[in-house]
Amino acid sequence: MKPPLKRVLAVDDDPDILAVVALALRTLGGLDVITAASGAEALGLLGRETVDLVLLDVMMPGIDGLETLAAMQGNPALRHIPVVLMTARVKLYEQGAEQPAGVLAIIPKPFDPVTLPRRLQTLWEGHAK
């Protein structure tokens, strides 16, 4: 059995979403959360912090979510970290389309922040198997 999910990096350029996501993960999920407001900041953080999972918004200015993901995949030190994408453009990935490598799941936006901690925990447990 893999240890439970403990530490998460949440990445979103929208400060309101980021705040409520971090709040839900901390209080309801009992998780340790670090946040980044951009792909560049996320990659910087990942260089010096250890996290179990990255929760990543797709649509961001600058280095967007998919580019951040690609950079993680290209870095042997980060490749193993599972990524959960958040996007309003779920249609892109529905039915048949391959999920990008390293992606555990795609959570369609908008979503209910209250249910997010449990979903991440479930995905994490499924990933452990």
Partner: protein, 551 residues
């Protein structure tokens, strides 16, 4: 983490207030930007700015409990995406449409200042990717029986391996443990206890997979044996496959199972909201009603599996509300849990007479409440299943199917959406029973039930209406689309080969379709679909016919 819901709620409120202020500014900004579209200019950067703000509001409108804002923002995005290229010498062609949307959003933003107490969260799948094929072991000393069970489980997308001897099973269990084991209670070469030891001797302290026992025996001793061996379920042969699959689904994928829907009735709004958050965080769907007069509407909307009712409410007592709920026959089966500071057993018994099912003592921490519900959930689910499902197929029974139709009709009238009802009837089913015997006939009924459940949407209502007649309700589906769907089912079912000692055979069905609003009441829809079904039968069977609206 005892008070995590309360802690969340407090901080969330503060965040929401800040967001509301920003929303106000955003809507003003949108108004100004849209205003500039009305005069001739190069509009492209303005449109981009509008799209950017709208995109942000789609996400956080939902996160901050202003779903209307989210929906309107999405509409604005859609308008801009499909907007014709602007001609800078004129007003932008979409200016008027955008202006209306922003006005509506301003109203929605104002309404969001007062949080809505009563709402049901939309339930999204845990992942956008499909459920992965889960691996099952089927263990039976008779390889033919094991193979038969395995074959049928394969239809549901499981990856199944069969075992008829202990050694192979033990080896595979250690090497690549499955998500679940289906096992004959009497297994040669080992006792039930031996099996239990085997399961518990997994390497590296892994949690053993749940075991469902199947057996020819239905006596207390056999069932006790299974319970002592840690059975997660017990099925007598011949196995009711839809019930078995239900158990497998519930055990291997609790998150994909429909979440428990809870209606919370409490006039203490902050408390009720904290309860709601704790239950949702634990994976349930909730609606909160703080005004008891809204209970009936909420019952119709949420279709709760269970109602949590405070004993003392403003205006009327919880007992009275319980009686009102129970006074509608459709609600007789919904469990009602009372929340009360009442320790007095006599008083509690009085309240039980009004139709309460259980008591929870206040004060109770929201997280504790969530645990109480989770503990009761399987029982609530099982009871509800028995009340509303058809024993042979696991589909809704006649009464529940009719109730489902009325519910969907109420929703369709309110939302102005179409519904199509299909009546399906197996062709020449009597002949199948006569020639192949009733067990084979039952299997045909079940295979159609599986096909319907598998191929239709979660939101579609599927019931067994009578002997070999099935009722399918397709909400939000006009006749034309329904025809395509049902015809697809018809063709798929006609391909299924049914096994029989007297030789494999195929079976077809005919269907009659009728749509709302062509037919306005449940009774008319069913009658018309039935008449169309009769037409289909008269036209040679294995086909579908539509009921035409009169006049």
């Amino acid at each position: 983490m005892q008070n995590s819901a309360a802690e969340f709620l407090e901080a969330y409120r503060a965040l929401r207030l800040t967001w509301l202020a920003r929303l106000h500014a955003d809507v003003n900004m949108l108004g100004q930007l849209v205003e500039t579209l009305k005069s001739p200019a190069d509009h492209s950067t303005k449109l981009e700015e509008i799209a950017h703000i709208a995109h942000r509001l789609v996400g956080n409108g939902q996160a901050f409990e202003a779903p209307d804002v989210s929906v309107l923002a999405r509409e604005i995005e859609a308008v801009i995406r499909t907007a014709k290229p602007a001609i800078s010498k004129r007003a932008h062609p979409s200016a008027a449409a955008l202006s209306r949307l922003v006005e509506t959003m301003a109203a929605a933003a104002a309404a969001a200042q007062h949080p809505v107490a009563n709402r049901a969260e939309p339930v999204l799948p845990a992942s956008a990717s499909g459920p992965e094929r889960r691996s099952l072991f089927v263990v039976d000393d008779d390889p033919v029986v094991a193979g038969e069970i395995a074959l049928q489980l394969c239809h549901f997308g499981y990856r199944v391996r069969t075992f008829s001897d202990r050694r192979g099973f033990a080896a595979a269990l250690a090497l690549d443990p499955p998500a679940l084991v289906v096992m004959d209670l009497v297994f040669p070469g080992t006792s039930v206890d031996g099996m239990k030891n085997l399961m518990e001797s997994l390497p590296s302290g892994e949690v053993p997979p749940p075991v469902l026992f199947v057996s020819n025996r239905n006596d207390f001793e056999a069932r006790l044996q299974a319970v002592r061996a840690g059975a997660a379920g017990y099925f007598t042969k011949p196995i009711n496959l839809s019930a078995l699959v239900d158990s497998i689904e519930a055990l291997t994928n609790p998150d994909l199972a429909t979440p428990l829907r809870v209606l919370i009735v409490d006039d203490d709004a902050p408390l009720a909201e904290a309860y709601g958050i704790a239950l949702r965080a634990a994976g349930m769907t909730t609606a909160v009603v703080t005004d008891s007069r809204a209970v009936l509407a909420a019952l119709l909307e949420l279709r709760p599996d269970v109602v949590l009712l405070d004993l003392y409410l403003l205006g009327c007592t919880g007992e009275e509300v319980a009686r009102v709920i129970r006074s509608d026959n459709a609600n007789v089966g919904i469990p009602i849990l009372f929340l009360s500071a009442e320790y007095d057993r006599d008083k509690q018994i009085d309240v039980m007479k009004s139709g309460a099912d259980d008591f929870l003592i206040k004060p109770i921490a929201p997280e504790q409440l969530a645990r109480e519900f989770l503990a009761r959930a399987p029982r609530i689910r099982a009871l509800q299943g028995h009340l509303s499902s058809d024993g042979l197929t696991g589909l809704l029974n006649h009464v529940a199917g009719r109730a489902g139709l009325e519910r969907e009709l109420a929703r369709a009238r309110r939302d102005h959406t179409p519904i199509t009802v299909a009546m399906l009837d197996l062709d020449g089913f009597k002949g199948v029973n006569d020639r192949h015997g009733h067990p084979v006939g039952d299997r045909v009924l079940r295979s159609l039930a599986w096909l319907l459940r598998k191929r239709l949407r979660q939101s579609d209502v599927v019931g067994r209406y009578g002997g070999e007649e099935f009722l399918v309700i397709l909400p939000n589906t006009p006749m034309h689309d329904a025809e395509t769907v049902v015809d697809g089912l018809r063709r798929a079912f006609a391909e299924v080969r049914h096994a029989s000692p007297k030789g494999d055979f195929v079976c077809t069905f005919s269907a009659g379709l009728a749509s709302f609003p062509d037919f306005q009441t449940g009774g008319r829809l069913l009658d018309s679909a039935d008449r169309a079904l009769y037409d289909a039968k008269a036209s040679g069977r294995n086909c579908i016919r539509k009921a035409q609206a009169q006049g």
